[in-house]
Symmetry: C2
Subunit: 346 residues, 2 copies
């Protein structure tokens, strides 16, 4: 367990970068009509800010590599808006009921309006990059746009695999399959992209951005595995999403992949049956049975052990990826983020 004063310090720094990002972000949202069916809903979504991990990584990496907060801010705004757009569409796709302790947007407003709100947030996220062209110049902007497109394609590719496996009830999956989807749908936009963009801006394009790929993969994987664990045994009030929601939604988590490998043929048949129907036809008894199966086969302990390994590997990779970053304070903040993300309760 990370000491609580250490946790408080990290969360204070996260909140600082998050608040800077949200001030800029909310300041550039359109305030015109249509408010009721569009812009008020976007403002409402953004009023429940998350941890701000992605903008913090982007700004801190930019500063660690010699850049300024101001240079990174438009990209940080873009990443955070994109993240929130993802969440609006993801909740529709996954059938998730809660987000940040509120009903998911599509539950409140219906799928059509929520889908359109996500589309609007996506295009607004690009707007922030357009406005950044005069700041960064044409060459660096061209690279930033490429990076953004690559990240979004990685995300939709990962999402396509996960949604396909859930829909078609694919059960012959390995840890490698799980990590491939996590790399695409979580790591790229949660960690790899913010680090790459931050360093590109901080060094005016001089850094080889690929040096962050492995570190970002490991950091993002730690984030996702802890998310899978919290979904099973977290505190709903702190976590903000439905506990056991992943089982209700039929998500292919690390625990499920482990249990599928370890379980008996009969249990595997029962798992296949439970996940063969949609969320609305799954019962509380089914969900409890899956949870107890995870416990019986040690799948949660397995995920926690994998998480510890990933955190250690991320710490090693950090030393390499940030080896010559001159900004000591921000470099130190990112280093301390690694165990924090593997141990977070929110």
């Amino acid at each position: 367990m990370v000491a609580s004063t250490e946790t408080a310090g990290i969360e204070r720094q996260l909140a600082h970068y998050r608040d800077l990002t949200y001030d800029a972000l909310l300041g550039q949202l359109p305030t015109r009509e249509p408010r009721r069916y569009l812009y008020d809903l976007i403002a409402g979504q953004l009023s429940h800010a998350g941890k701000g991990l992605r903008p913090a990584l982007c700004i801190a990496t930019c500063r660690a590599f010699g850049g300024s907060t101001e240079q990174a801010l438009p990209s940080a705004v873009s990443i955070e808006l994109l993240h929130n757009a993802f969440l609006v569409h993801d909740d529709i796709e996954d059938g998730s009921l809660y987000r940040r302790n509120e009903a998911a947007l599509y539950v409140e407003e219906g799928v059509p309006i929520a889908l359109n709100v996500g589309d609007a947030m996506n295009v607004l996220s690009i707007g922030s990059l357009i406005e950044n062209i005069p700041v960064l110049g044409a060459d660096l902007s061209y690279r930033v746009f490429h990076e953004a497109q690559h990240l979004i394609l990685q995300s939709v590719e990962g999402q396509a695999l996960e949604l396909g496996w859930t829909r078609d009830n694919v059960v012959d999956l390995t840890e490698d399959d799980y990590l491939r989807v996590v790399l695409k749908k979580t790591c790229w936009y949660t960690a790899i992209h913010p680090c790459r963009i931050g360093a590109l801006i901080g060094t005016a394009g001089a850094v080889d951005a690929d040096r962050f790929n492995l570190f970002g993969f490991l950091l993002g994987a730690a984030f996702q595995i802890q998310d899978d664990v919290l979904n099973l045994i977290g505190d709903q009030g702190r976590y903000g999403k439905e506990i056991l929601g992943d089982i209700w939604e039929g998500k292919r988590t690390l625990m499920l992949v482990h249990a599928l490998r370890e379980c008996t043929a009969d249990e595997r048949e029962e798992l296949r049956r439970v996940f063969s129907v949609g969320r609305d036809r799954r019962t509380e008894r089914d969900v409890d049975w899956v949870f107890r199966l995870f416990q019986r086969h040690g799948s949660i302990d397995f995920a926690r052990a994998a998480l510890r390994q990933v955190v250690h590997a991320a710490q090693d990779e950090f030393d390499d990826a940030y080896r010559d970053a001159p900004g000591v304070a921000d470099r130190d903040f990112i280093r301390r983020l690694i165990p924090y993300l593997g141990d977070r309760e929110v």
Copy 2:
């Protein structure tokens, strides 16, 4: 009725520009994994090409103002991909069952995967503009990106209004409200944007793009009103969508706005009742009743008369907007498109 040799000539030119666009578009689609849940579905959507009106307007306007097909092609590709992304999301939002004589994508693949496919097509459409940066240079690219963002925001704003009115069963709408939504959700991306972008590229940024706004509005309105009419009395095989689908979906069309104004208090109450429930609870009897109400109050004739006025106004505005365009053949093609679009059966 436009003479059939004239129609054939216009359709040949449309097909020429469309085919150029689709060759370029299909050539740059990713062919990597995941195919089954993503890239094969995109290719499938794009294998049923529409008329290609939007890329044709973009390329022809660029050529009319002195530019080349090659210069306009990346923007034409971008517009056509964006259009197809819109259709995938729109069909989910509207609950439309058919598109281009096939089941809508979400009907075949489910909402989650279809929504994600639309997101992927949206980001691919931006990719074409990114690759265009070296061709157009930084300054013109900056303007093109701004234009693209503006158009997408107009579209989502129009969509937000229409979806909101449908969901909340808003019936106190006027022709002005209808035209405001048509301007935002149809005219910008069907006509105004392709003309603006084509002329900006053709003149290397020298033209005042606002000169196309009124022409594009009128051309787009003609297109939409004819679409409303075809939805009621078209030939399903040629039109490719469900006849009377707009009534099933509760769309606020020009006929509905007219009928709401002309009908008796009792009829208005009945209209409100019919549209107070979702598509799945509307009956064939309800839909027939609305169609006969439109006939009884002359709402279809009203729409056709409005269409003729809009076509005439578009012809006048064309003469102004394209007054000094040196490319005679393409200018002439666009001029002949105007009555064609107001009279089309597909």
